[in-house]
Assembly symmetry: C2
Amino acid sequence: MRARQLATDYPTVTADSSALEAARLLAEHRLPGLIVVDADRRPMAVLPGSQLLRAIIPRYVQDDPALARVYDETHADQLCAKLADELVADLLPKDRTPPPIVDANATAIEIASIMAATRSPIVAVADDPRRTDAPMIGAITVAGLLTHLLPPSRSD
Amino acid sequence: MRARQLATDYPTVTADSSALEAARLLAEHRLPGLIVVDADRRPMAVLPGSQLLRAIIPRYVQDDPALARVYDETHADQLCAKLADELVADLLPKDRTPPPIVDANATAIEIASIMAATRSPIVAVADDPRRTDAPMIGAITVAGLLTHLLPPSRSD
């Protein structure tokens, strides 16, 4: 089985999506992060969920987490409202890199090698990723890859 | 709502669990990584799924991923069999650190602050984590925290 068959839909946002939309997508799909694509669906970056939280937390609490205790749940609602005013572009880490991208014809062991080498829990899949205009056709998570690779257990 | 109420069961392994058991747990629960606990359920480390893959891939393929293409699916089965012979202890990254641990009384904004500061998609929850013998009572993911923090959408 090749990357094309192993790839599944994975939620994406663009740099000009609102942070609120990104947060809802991440919460709904129970993901640790989202893939950010450009207008042509080329993967640009990974947006970690922890980075979304930075938009919620006032700067002085980020600097001194002990101050967080003064917030009650009512304040939390007000802080979340800030997400609607921020764009994904504002939240991307400065040291961002695109997720690893594998060729649609890559074998399971090739995909595993790339995940292991990059220590990434996810790879994007594209037809001929060396082409700079190759859109993402899906993604493969480490859990999805292991599900395919592992032999059936004796209780199956 | 405090960390105690937000915490949910999160799959854990110990250093002497087999890598095969860890891989099955990760695949079954669709997780990017597992929490490794000691015999008293104190969190010791996070085992990223990508690290589990290192056990499957021959060293020379790790060094040159281009060699991965020579493997077909039959070989992949044989490589997975290696997981049964390895322990989680053998796969932990050398630079491992425990996951962030929050107090069971931490507020949602305190938890968010700690996740943002440590860039971690997950925190372990313990009663009085300053005690060195405090067992983990559950964990909170960034998606779980956002689900709690986000205002209901208008379509809800």
